[in-house]
C-alpha cells in the first residue's frame, strides 16, 4: 500500500478545484493509496477499513475471495471509505485521463459522505482511529479469554443488523434544535393527560384559563401549584430524565443482561459495543447505495466532459463510462439508475415540473412542452443529495416521465414448459410497478424489538413487527443460540409464518411442471399468516403457535 505519485496527486487537487466550482463541498484533505489486488481481497471483508478488528469470518472471506479472484479476476477502479480525511484506494497508477474521471467519481462520493444528512452520525468520528483502538482492545481480550472473544463477536454480529439506526440519527439531527421541555408543555401534554387523566371539559377549561392569564398577566401556575402541590416536583423529575428513546436489542442486552452483569463476563459488553458501533457507522452507506453511486457517476460524467485537460480522450472515456453506467437489458445497475435519476431530477426542476401547475396538466403534449425556464436544477440536486436516502429518493422521484424517457420496464421471468426454458418478458411499464420493484431490492432488515411485557422472570422476549415478509427460518436457530448466550437465559421470539395447507404442497410439486397448475386456472389462494413463538432454552429451539 503506497500513496499515489505526486503527479497523480496534482491531478486530484485540480479536480477538487473544479468540483468545488460546481457546488460540491468536502474537506481539503484526502488520502489516495495504490493497493494490490491482494490488498483489495484482504481489505474487502473488513469493509475496506484497514484497522478493523480481526475475526475469523474475515479470514474465511479472504480465502474464498482469493479463489473467486482466481476464477473471475476483476479489479474495481476505486474504493472510497468514509473517514476523516477521506481515504480512497486505487488499483494502479492509471493514465492521466482515466485518473481525472476516477478522481471526479471519488470526489462525488466524498461530497456525498460529508453532506448527506443520513451520515450525520459519522461526521464526528475518526473511524480509522476508532477502529484501531477497538482492534487493540479485542486482541488484548483475545490474549486473556482466547476463543470466547470470537464467540462474543459472532453472537454480537448476529444482532448487528438490528441497531436502532433511525432513532439514533433522529437524536443526532434534532440535537441542536431540540427545545427543552417547558413547564407549560409538561402541564398540558403530560401532567394533565397522562398523570391526572382529567376529563376533556376540565382540560379545555384549563386552556381557557391559560389564555385568560396571558391577557391579565397573572401567573398561570399559581393556581396550579395550589391545586396540585406535587406538580413542581414531578416537573423537575421529568426534566432530569435524560432523553433516551427505546433501546435496541443490543443496547438492551448490554444494559440488562443478567449474564453480562457478572464480573467475569463484563468484558463482553465492550465487544458488543464495538460491533454495534461498527454496524451503526455503516448503516447510512447500505441505505444510500443507489444515490451514492448515482451521485458520483453523475459528477464524473458532468465534470469530465467540461475538463479541458483531457481533450482527445473523449472516446476512451465513453468506452469506460459506458461499461460502468449503461442500463442492462435485464437487471439493475445502481450506478446507471442513480445517475439517470439525478439527471432526470435536474431536468425536471430546470423546467419547473415539480409544481402544482405541472401536476394538474392533463395532456401529454402540454407536459412535454412545459418549461418555466427557472433553471434551478443545479441547486435542487444539491439539496436532494443532502436530504434523501435510497428509499425516499426512489419513492419520490421515479415517475412515469422517467420510466418512459429511459424505456424502463419491470422484467418478469417465467417458466415455459413446452420449450423447457425461462422466458423473460416485459411485465410492466408503469412507474408505480417499476418503483415498487426497485424498492423491493433495497436493504431492509426486519424490525425486531424488546417486548417489555414479555421480558420478565429471566426471559428475553423479542417481537418481530411483521411486514408481510417472513424471517429466514434457517437462520433463526443459530442467531437465537447466540442471543441466549449473551442474555444468559431463555430467549423468546414472536414472528409470523405462512399457514401451510395441503394446497401449497401440491403447488410446490407442480413448480417443476408449471403447465399443470396453469390449466387448473385461477390464482393460488392468498397466503394466510399465523403468529409463532420460537423458544430458545439450553441451546434447544422449540416453536409453537400463538
Amino acid at each position: 500500500m503506497e500513496l499515489v505519485s505526486q503527479h497523480a496527486k496534482g491531478i486530484m487537487e485540480e479536480c477538487k478545484l473544479r468540483a468545488r466550482d460546481q457546488g460540491l463541498k468536502f474537506d481539503n484533505e484526502t488520502l489516495e493509496y495504490i493497493v494490490t489486488n491482494r490488498d483489495m481481497i484482504e481489505l474487502s471483508p473488513k469493509i475496506m477499513i484497514p484497522t478493523l478488528y480481526d475475526y475469523w469470518v474475515h479470514d474465511v472471506k479472504v480465502l474464498s475471495g482469493k479463489g473467486m479472484y482466481e476464477a473471475y479476476p476483476s479489479n474495481p477502479y476505486e474504493t472510497v471509505i468514509n473517514t476523516r480525511p477521506a481515504i480512497s484506494f486505487y488499483n494502479d497508477n492509471n493514465p492521466d485521463w482515466l485518473n481525472v474521471m476516477i478522481f471526479y467519481h471519488v470526489l462525488g462520493h466524498i461530497d456525498f459522505f460529508q453532506n448527506n444528512l443520513f451520515y450525520k452520525n459519522t461526521w464526528d468520528i475518526d473511524l480509522t482511529g476508532q477502529a484501531l483502538s477497538d482492534k487493540r482492545l479485542i486482541s488484548q481480550l483475545r490474549s486473556e479469554k482466547g476463543r470466547w472473544v470470537d464467540y462474543a463477536i459472532e453472537f454480537s454480529r448476529g444482532l448487528d443488523n438490528l441497531v436502532g439506526y433511525q432513532k439514533e440519527l433522529n437524536q443526532h439531527i434534532t440535537r441542536d434544535t431540540r427545545q427543552p421541555l417547558t413547564r407549560m408543555d409538561y402541564y398540558f401534554d403530560i401532567f394533565l393527560q397522562k398523570i391526572k387523566n382529567v376529563p376533556l371539559h376540565e382540560y379545555l377549561k384549563e386552556i381557557t384559563r391559560y389564555n385568560a392569564t396571558i391577557k391579565t398577566n397573572e401567573d398561570f401556575f399559581d393556581q396550579v401549584t395550589g391545586k396540585y402541590p406535587e406538580f413542581e416536583e414531578l416537573y423537575k423529575k421529568e426534566l432530569s430524565i435524560k432523553v433516551k428513546s427505546d433501546l435496541d436489542v443490543m443496547e438492551y442486552i448490554i444494559r440488562f443482561s443478567p449474564f453480562l452483569r457478572e464480573d467475569e463476563n463484563n468484558w463482553i459488553k465492550s465487544v458488543i459495543q464495538i460491533v454495534r458501533n461498527t454496524s451503526s457507522y455503516f448503516q447510512p452507506q447500505i441505505r444510500t447505495k443507489i444515490m451514492n453511486e448515482g451521485w458520483a457517476s453523475y459528477w464524473h460524467e458532468y465534470l469530465f466532459m467540461r475538463d479541458d485537460r483531457i481533450c482527445g480522450h473523449e472516446a476512451d472515456f465513453a468506452k469506460v463510462n459506458a461499461g460502468v453506467t449503461s442500463m442492462p437489458k435485464v437487471g439493475l445497475n445502481p450506478y446507471a439508475l442513480g445517475m439517470r435519476l439525478v439527471q432526470h431530477i435536474k431536468d425536471m426542476e430546470d423546467k419547473g415540473c415539480y409544481s402544482l401547475e405541472y401536476m394538474f396538466l392533463k395532456d401529454e403534449v402540454g407536459k412535454k412542452k412545459y418549461n418555466t425556464g427557472q433553471n434551478s436544477g443545479d441547486d435542487f440536486i444539491l439539496k436532494v443529495r443532502e436530504n434523501y436516502n435510497d428509499f425516499t429518493f426512489i419513492n419520490r422521484f421515479i415517475d412515469q416521465e422517467f420510466v418512459t424517457r429511459h424505456d424502463l420496464f419491470v422484467a418478469g421471468k417465467r417458466f415455459n414448459g413446452a420449450r423447457m426454458s425461462w422466458e423473460y418478458y416485459i411485465k410492466s411499464k408503469k412507474a408505480e410497478d417499476y418503483k415498487q420493484m426497485v424498492i423491493d431490492t433495497l436493504y431492509h432488515p426486519p424490525e425486531i424489538f424488546i417486548d417489555k411485557t414479555g421480558t420478565k422472570d429471566g426471559i428475553l422476549y423479542l417481537n418481530h413487527k411483521f411486514e408481510n415478509k417472513p424471517l429466514k427460518l434457517d437462520f433463526i436457530e443459530n442467531t437465537m443460540v447466540g442471543i441466549e448466550y449473551l442474555w444468559g437465559g431463555p430467549v423468546y421470539l414472536e414472528t409470523s409464518e405462512p399457514v401451510i395447507s395441503n394446497q401449497t404442497a401440491t403447488n410446490y410439486a407442480n413448480f417443476w411442471d408449471p403447465s399443470s397448475s396453469r390449466t387448473k386456472g385461477g390464482k393460488p389462494e392468498p397466503v394466510k399468516w399465523k403468529r409463532m413463538l420460537y423458544v430458545m432454552e439450553n441451546r434447544k429451539l422449540h416453536k409453537r403457535e400463538l
Binding site: 479470514d59 437489458k329 420496464f409 422484467a411 418478458y425 415478509k469
Partner: protein, 390 residues
C-alpha cells in the same frame, strides 16, 4: 494470515464448546474452454442474523423474481429466453472438438483440488481411513527392503533370530541339559547360526478404485435436495481420491426415467430438472458398463446413488434385481436419500422397498443406506459419508 487448517481446527473446537460447526467447503466453478471447467475449493461460512426471507409466497407457480430492464417493446413482449437444461448439443461437441492435452489439463486441476479436499476430510473431519483396500491387483512398482533373511552373510545381523538359531543348534547338540538354567558361556556357535537380513526386491501392489456416481435428476429433485446430494458426492469423490492415492477412476450417471452417462463431474452436478423417475435404469446401466468393459476383475468398484427417494416403480422390483446383480462384484453400494422437508416422517418409496426387500440386512457389508433431510448441513453430510463407507 490464518490457514485453512487453522480454521478447521477452530471449527472443530466449536463442537467441544457446544456450538455447531460453521465452516463449509464451497466450490467455485471457473469456466474453461471445451467444457473443462476448473473447480476451486474454498471455505465458506454464513453469518446468521434475523433477516427477511426472499421467498414470495404470493408469487404464482412458475414465475421467477422480477427485476429491472430497459429497451423497446410493449407489456407482455418476450425479450429473451434461457434454456432450463444445458443444450444437448454440448455433449456432442465435447468428444469431437477438444484436443487431448487441453482436456487432461482440466481434469488434473479438478483432481488436485479434490485430492486436497479429501486430505482435509480425512484428517480434519476424521473420516475413517479405508480398512480393506480390497484385492491387490495392479502391479504398481518394486520397492527394496531389508525383509529377507540369510544365514552366514548379509547386511544387518538379526540378533533375535540369531540367538534363537544358536539355542536351537545347542539343544540339538545336547549342550543345554537344563532349559531353566542356561549357561550362555558354554554355547557352541557355528558361523551358519548367524542370521542376517539382506536387501531384497519387493513387489508393491496398489489398489485401484472405480466409482460410479449415480444421481437422480428428475423433476422432483429441485433445489436443496440436489445441492445436498452433490455436496455429498463431491466429498465422497475427494475422500476416495485421497484414500486410493489418486488411483481412482470415476463414471457419472444421471437418470430420470432413463439413464445417461455424462463425461465429467461438472456436467454431473450442473444438469437439472427433467422428467419422471425410474431408479433401476441407473443401476442397470452400471451393470451393463461393468459387464461390457469387464471392469470387475481389475477394480474395487464403488457405487453411490443420490435420490430424493421418489420412484415410479413403487415395489422397486427391477431396482432390487439390478442391485442384487451388483453384489457379485461391488465393494460397496451407498445410497443416500435426501428427503424433501414436506415428506415429514413418512418413508419414501425407495427407502420402503429397500428395507422390505431385506437387501440391507442380508448384504449389510455391501450396501448402506443413509437418509437425511434436505436441510442437512455439512457435518450431517459428512456423518452420512461415514455411514455409507463404514
Amino acid at each position: 494470515m490464518i490457514t485453512l487448517d487453522e480454521l478447521l481446527e477452530r471449527d472443530r473446537r466449536r463442537e467441544e464448546d457446544g456450538f455447531k460447526r460453521k465452516i463449509r467447503i464451497g466450490k467455485i466453478v471457473k469456466p474453461g474452454s471445451g467444457g473443462k471447467e476448473k473447480i476451486i475449493i474454498v471455505p465458506t461460512t454464513v453469518e446468521e442474523k434475523f433477516v427477511h426471507d426472499d421467498i414470495h409466497p404470493d408469487q404464482e407457480p412458475g414465475e421467477g423474481e422480477p427485476t429491472g430492464g430497459t429497451g423497446e417493446g410493449e407489456e407482455g413482449d418476450i425479450i429473451g429466453e434461457q434454456p432450463v437444461r444445458p443444450e444437448e448439443g454440448e455433449e456432442g461437441e465435447e468428444g469431437a472438438g477438444e484436443g487431448p492435452g487441453e482436456g487432461e489439463g482440466g481434469d488434473h486441476e479438478l483432481e488436485s483440488n479434490a485430492y486436497e479436499l479429501g486430505k482435509v476430510l480425512s484428517e480434519d473431519f476424521q473420516l475413517p481411513n479405508l480398512q480393506d483396500k480390497g484385492k491387490k491387483r495392479t502391479l504398481a512398482r518394486y520397492v527394496y527392503d531389508l525383509t529377507d533373511k540369510n544365514k552366514g552373510v548379509g547386511q544387518v545381523l538379526d540378533k533375535k533370530s540369531t540367538l534363537k538359531q544358536i539355542v536351537e543348534t545347542n539343544i540339538t547338540l545336547g549342550n543345554i541339559p537344563d532349559v531353566n538354567d542356561i549357561d550362555t558361556t558354554k554355547f557352541i556357535i557355528s558361523p551358519q547360526d548367524l542370521i542376517y537380513r539382506i536387501l531384497s526386491r519387493e513387489k508393491d501392489y496398489e489398489s485401484q478404485a472405480l466409482i460410479f456416481f449415480l444421481r437422480d435428476y428428475s423433476g422432483s429433485m429441485g433445489g436443496k435436495v440436489t445441492q445436498t446430494v452433490v455436496s455429498q458426492h463431491v466429498m465422497l469423490y475427494s475422500w476416495l481420491l485421497y484414500q486410493y492415492d489418486k488411483q481412482v477412476e470415476t463414471r457419472f450417471i444421471l437418470h430420470d426415467t432413463e439413464a445417461k452417462e455424462v463425461p465429467d463431474f461438472y456436467k454431473y452436478y450442473s444438469y437439472k430438472v427433467a422428467g419422471g423417475t425410474k431408479v433401476f435404469t441407473a443401476f442397470k446401466m452400471v451393470n451393463d458398463i461393468v459387464e461390457r468393459e469387464n471392469l470387475a476383475r481389475d477394480y474395487n468398484i464403488y457405487v453411490f446413488h443420490g435420490t430424493d427417494g421418489d420412484d415410479w416403480d413403487k415395489e422397486g422390483k427391477q431396482t432390487i434385481e439390478e442391485i442384487e446383480k451388483m453384489f457379485n462384484y461391488v465393494a460397496r453400494i451407498g445410497i443416500s436419500i435426501v428427503e424433501h422437508s414436506y415428506v415429514g416422517s413418512k418413508q419414501t418409496e425407495v427407502e420402503k422397498y429397500l428395507k422390505s426387500s431385506g437387501v440391507l440386512n442380508n448384504h449389510s457389508n455391501l450396501i448402506k443406506l443413509d437418509v437425511m433431510n434436505e436441510d442437512a448441513d455439512d457435518s450431517r453430510i459428512i456423518q452420512g459419508i461415514k455411514k455409507l463407507i463404514s
